[in-house]
Amino acid sequence: MVTGDVKLIGSWASVFVMRARIALNLKSISYEFLQETYGTKSELLLKSNPVHKKIPVLIHDDKPVCESNIIVQYIDEAWSSYGLSILPSQPYDRAIARFWAAYVDDKWFIALRSILTARGEEEKKAAIAEVEERTDHLEKAFIECSNGKPFFNGDHIGYLDIALGSFLGWWKVVELDANHILLDETKTPSLFQWAERFCNDPDVKPLMPETTKLAEFARKLFPKPQA
């Protein structure tokens, strides 16, 4: 089967890039990974994503696709006969998966990031409380979506697993930074176990960044204000 020429512009540390890479792995698509240098934006990136100038950008036969969740859906649809489906088959289940994936980006991630950017203990405490509340929503979402199966998508990894699971590296880094458990085995047991399964999936494992390396990168990206 001919997959065409596939390139992905991204970075090893980016959650959003990882989503695209997991999707490509699930479909067994070979691609050229074009690693962006931190602090600069390549000409190809600026040309391929002139509106947002952000990674990831998937370039398939010279045609760019931008925005991680859109890229994942594109991969599922362009290579629909390859491997298993990434999105659920029923319209309602697809709507639910899309809803929670949007929630992860618009609500949950924003709260997680605000732990890293918090100034002072008060702000940090508030941010942690918000993450805990929103993680609790995701626990309920998992129970609803998985229907007793190992992943949000059922028997195998899918769209929502990828949307949330790609954050697991950073989730750990933020835990260390905050010195506070943010994925608690007792508070959100289903998510906790799902996280382990997700990280051990063969299409995910090689892509998950190593915690120490990511924590070092995080310190560059989110420098602490000088005392």
Partner: protein, 220 residues
């Protein structure tokens, strides 16, 4: 059956009063409309959209679907035998989703700030909104609709804001027609569609509503 589909929405809303209603009309789907003021936070709204407590909420066979663009995709997938909203080609679909997301993420905040705030905040919002309009003007180019020849996803997403354009122009003190001629022609083409005309709120009523809301915001 009309009772199979229910739409909870609010007539002045920037979404749904355009977006979801237009999509349902394009597909010829009969539904029951329930006027729901999101600020009242009625029990029915909290029950149907417990996470965001926001309108619009689409209820189909007892199951709720939230967020306008997600509703659009759902409507397109369920009523797939008539009038496609999204193109079938995966690349064209990705482009449509990209622009839909652009409108969804970038428009709301500066839009309400242009009519809802004053001073520095309003000036910044206006500058941002004009940039977004410019991006959309460029993207439209000489096409009939955003998808090309066919009225679809991106057109529906943007027309969802149309009834607020007059209020934005008035309080922002600029003219969309003067600055964005292609966009203006596009709105005229969209307004020729029955699905659009029967779905959007009256622009003058929205201006009145914006006045009331501005006074309230000032008072708070």
């Amino acid at each position: 059956m009309a009772d199979e589909v229910i739409l909870l929405d609010y007539w002045p809303s920037m979404f749904g009063m355009g977006t979801t209603k237009i999509a349902l009309a394009e597909k010829g789907v009969a539904y029951e409309y329930k006027e729901t003021d999101p600020r009242a936070k009625t029990s029915s709204l909290i029950e149907t959209n417990p996470i965001h407590k926001k309108i619009p909420v689409l209820i189909h066979k007892g199951k709720q679907i939230c967020e306008p663009l997600i509703q659009l995709e759902y409507i397109d997938e369920v009523w797939s035998d008539t009038y496609p909203i999204l193109p079938s080609d995966p690349y064209q679909k990705a482009q449509a989703r990209f622009w839909g997301a652009f409108i969804d993420k970038k428009f709301y905040d500066p839009s309400w700030k242009v009519w809802g705030t004053t001073g520095e905040e309003q000036v910044t919002a206006k500058k941002e909104l004009l940039e977004h309009f410019k991006t959309l003007e460029t993207e439209l180019g000489d096409k009939t609709y955003y998808g090309g020849d066919v009225f679809g996803f991106v057109d529906i997403a943007l027309m969802g804001y149309y009834s607020w354009f007059k209020a934005i122009e008035k309080f922002g003190e600029f003219s969309i027609e003067a600055e964005f001629p292609k966009l203006t022609q596009w709105t005229k083409r969209c307004l020729e569609r029955e699905s659009v005309v029967m779905s959007i709120a009256d622009s003058d009523k929205i201006v009145e509503y914006a006045y009331v809301l501005r006074r309230k915001l000032r008072a708070e």
